[in-house]
């Protein structure tokens, strides 16, 4: 009996690895500070790291939950030859409520050592590719438990910030949230020394069953890193100005005057430039 189970286990494991499909899905709670000067207000997101043998995909679960619900609603309405009636309730149900969540998707190809960033800025999708740069880790002996897994400490300075990471050697997958990788186990927690960003694993799924909301962006225009970052910054700081600059879309108030908005604070993870 035990032998049969072993054969089945080896058969399915080899199939999973051979087909390079998702072998592990990790859900992280991301707590971050939108304004670097105001530590009182923190925002939250739920991020998914979907790991296969040679690549990983990292995106906001809440953002894509919204996108997939919106698509579903529109398809259902189209099937019944109706238009979607948008109001606050349907918007909440369809994901308009999650408008503020992170739209950036990060795909790392470990075989090619290449990172692809894609992003949807309302009308257009933009992206850029760069060589994967692994953080240089200093491994420490300190340990804590996260989700009942023993995690060891490692520190690094990466993309302009100092981080402390906790990785589980029992899960020999050298990946983690955002661009963190290269430790001898899965990274379950990372936070920066200023307390502006914290990623903490809240769920582990083997195999993948939490990533069914993901919709890849299509018609992505690949631009330089600099152009991409400028667009991302303007989109985060001032959506009204972004729409005008990008697509000529204007916003006017009821008396016909054009709406001007002050820039909001912008605090990206990558501050290396």
């Amino acid at each position: 009996m035990k032998f049969n189970f072993l054969i089945l286990f080896v058969f399915f494991s080899s199939r999973i690895i051979a087909s390079d499909t998702t072998i592990l899905s990790v859900k992280y709670r991301l707590t971050y500070q939108k304004d670097s000067t105001n530590s009182e207000i923190k925002s939250n997101d739920i991020m998914i790291l979907s790991v296969s043998k040679t690549s990983s995909l990292y995106y906001s679960y809440l953002k894509h939950f919204g996108y997939s619900n919106m698509d579903k609603m529109q398809l259902e309405a189209a099937a019944q030859n109706k238009t979607v009636n948008i109001n606050e309730q349907t918007a909440k149900a369809s994901g308009g409520f999650f408008m503020g969540n992170e739209p950036e998707v990060i795909n790392i190809d470990f075989a090619k050592m290449e990172t692809t960033f894609t992003n949807k800025f309302i009308e257009n999708c933009y992206g850029f590719k760069e060589v994967l740069e692994a953080p240089k880790w200093d491994i420490d002996t300190a340990a804590i438990y996260i989700l009942n897994l023993k995690c060891n400490k490692a520190t690094t300075t990466y993309k302009g910030r100092n981080y402390v990471a906790w990785y589980a050697s029992d899960i020999p997958v050298s990946k983690g949230p955002w661009l963190f990788n290269g430790l001898p186990g899965l990274i379950l927690k990372v936070d920066d020394d200023k307390g502006q960003f914290e990623f903490e694993c809240i769920e582990l799924n083997i195999p993948n069953n939490i990533t069914n909301v993901f919709i890849p962006y299509f018609k992505v225009r690949y631009v330089s890193k600099n152009v991409y970052q400028q667009k991302k910054k303007l989109f985060s700081q001032n959506v009204v100005e972004f729409l005008k600059a990008e697509s000529g879309v204007t916003v006017t108030s009821s008396n016909g005057t054009e709406v001007k908005r002050p820039n909001k604070p912008y605090n990206p993870l990558d501050i290396s430039n």
Binding site: M70, Q74, I86, N87, E88, A91, G96, M99, G100, I122, E123, V239, V240, L243, S247, G248, V249, T250, V251, T252, S253, S254, V259, R261
Partner: protein, 105 residues
């Protein structure tokens, strides 16, 4: 004599216990009634609050220079309205509309 007194005392005690039991039951009924009443009041208040909220996004299709475009009218909870034009798809109008909603309202 003693037995009679004892019986009378027993009777009295039983009566008191019955009264106490009835009081406890009554208290329970009153508590349930108050709870149900407060739940009804709370739900009515929430419904009233919700019906006051008129914020929404209206997407309209129109033809400009022989091509179809979409515009959005945004109504904030305060009653202020904004108009945004023109989007190249319904989806863009939807996401653009809500992005503006969270920005200006």
């Amino acid at each position: 004599m003693f037995q009679r007194k004892r019986r009378a005392l027993d009777k009295l005690l039983k009566g008191k216990a019955a009264i106490n039991k009835a009081n406890t039951k009554m208290k329970k009924i009153i508590f349930v009634c108050i709870f149900a009443l407060s739940a009804m009041v709370a739900s009515a208040t929430i419904e009233k609050g919700m019906s006051k909220n008129t914020s929404n996004i209206t997407i309209t299709e129109k033809v400009v220079n022989n091509s179809i475009v979409w515009d959005v009218t945004i109504t904030c909870p305060s009653g202020a309205t904004y108009y945004s034009c023109c989007y190249s798809s319904y989806n863009s109008a939807y996401y653009g509309g809500w992005a503006i909603y969270f920005e200006v309202c």
